[in-house]
Amino acid sequence: MIARETQNFHGIELEVLRGGAGHPILVLHGMHPLTPAAPFLTRLASLGAVTAPSFPGFGDSPKPKDFETVFDIVHLTRAILDAAGGPVTLVGLSFGGWIAAEVAAQGHPNIGRLVLADPLGIKIGGPEDADIFDIYNNSPADTRAATFHDPERFGPDFDEMDDSDIIRYARDRDALCLYSWNPYLYNPQLPRWLGRIAVPTLVCWGESDGIVTPDYGRAYAKLIQGARFATIAGAGHCPEIERPDDLAALIAAFVGG
């Protein structure tokens, strides 16, 4: 059972999903926060005590005035880790994977293990290579196709969604755009520092990810010393949505091993 709460970190109020007990697992969301009904969170809650905050501007979390950069989010995440009280398994999905990688590269005593699922945040190719599929410049249909292995089943259907869900969806898009328009979803300096990540790391990738391909994922994993790399069949950019059991099983094995 996942509950929606609000919690204050360094004076910033966040929507936080919580569930389960035991080993703490902190989940940093992707382009859209998960909902309490997300099977992925339920699976994780059977492994430990899950905390999944929504970053400012995402979901129902307000955005403080002038809180507008990835730098702000990284510091906020450090405040969230400070409050954890002990080592957690830090799980970063897509955009949240970028944040998790930044914080892990800086180092934080409360990161015990790191899981990155289809993380963004670095550029691998040259100036003419679109490493990260552009969700703003491409058509909604192409973006759906790039995002999901099965876009018909998992892509958003605005005609069927409730008003409140569409409003949250639009808030998420505005927030992501604010934080990541330029450079587009990456920090040019991050590859230099990924080698400083000193905790056991698992990098998971949806085999059908068209936002950032598995090859990008392999290159990402290579920059982190000792990182394991695993792909997930039948999943695109959001394995937590399309293959929640498989992603949770990979995490369970990683935490258990």
Binding site: N137, D163, C177, W181
Partner: protein, 395 residues
Amino acid sequence: MQLWFHNENTYPFVPEKILAEADSVRATLPGRLLDPKIAADLFHECMDESLLCDDVGINIVSIEHHSGINSLYGASPIVLGALARQTRNVRILSQGTLISLRKDPVRVAEEYATADVMLRGRLDIGFVKSGDSEMVSNNANPVGNLERFWEAIDLIRKALSNVDGPTRWEGKHFAHRSINLWPRPYQTPHPPMWTATGDPDTSRELGRRGMINSVVLRGIDGTKRAWGAYREARAEAGLPEPALDRFAYCGFVYVGDTDEEGVAIGSKLLWFLNTSLKQAPQFSKFLPGRMPPEMAPQVYRTRPKPGEARIARPADGLIGMTAEQAIQRQIMFAGNPDTVTKQIMAAYDTLGGFGHLIFVGRSGYLTHAEAEKSIKLLAKEVLPRVREETRARER
């Protein structure tokens, strides 16, 4: 009453089939669809139309749009520079460099100061909020656009007004530690400043600042809303009533020898609405930051829920308009000189007057010769009568 010629320098010569099949006629049409030789002719024709305006006493608007058939004036300061050297008499309104797309407003101020000096003080500066495909074409974050817009205006105003040696600006979006323009502008403290908007909130801020509010192709109702907000905000702030020279109305205008000719040729101007506004959904309704998320349900859905109003951008209401509808909505004035004079004065009276009329006088397949004919008739037959009638009303 000041009359201003507005010409976007459109490029209609892409095959209809390609335009019909493209999801966007801005931002994404391949450059190979443009013939540079035709573009060169267009630039020279449009410049000649501006020089004709200079001869007959009609002011000129120099505009900016990017990467589409709707306008070839992406490098707007270059066009302004050419006009600055080649005209001798009338005022030029740059409306304008799209400031929230530019990285350094101080450089924009430098361009404007240079143009104003070349023009010996004949420059007006107009700001446009921009948006949609322009953000993508210029790699400008659509979220925070409005904040950047106002900060850029503040910085440009400061840069143009400063005459006391290096000064600094370290704002939220722009930082420039040594600002010291040479040349400073010809006009002191700076050229008149305008903004094109039909958004009442933006108009309110213009009212408080006393800037000129032009409203482009929004018709009577949209213009009334904007100017009403302008006047209201000034009253609330305890500021004096604005003079009519704070308001500019903009519509399509074509003057022919007869009503039939005016309407027939004038209807070609509607190409701008009917063909050149099409934008892909990722540049329009799904572009982040362009509307409050609370409006998303009415915008994102392909079909409205029962009882739900559909929200579209203002331009969407203009697509598919006929000449008769455009004239009826007072977005277009077309006919013989007498008819056009009456149409202009009817809009003037309905709106409680305005000090400037900006007219879109060429667009789409309307030819250079046709544009020049209308400009001449406007200057000779319409403008004197409109001035006489507006003076009579002011008395």
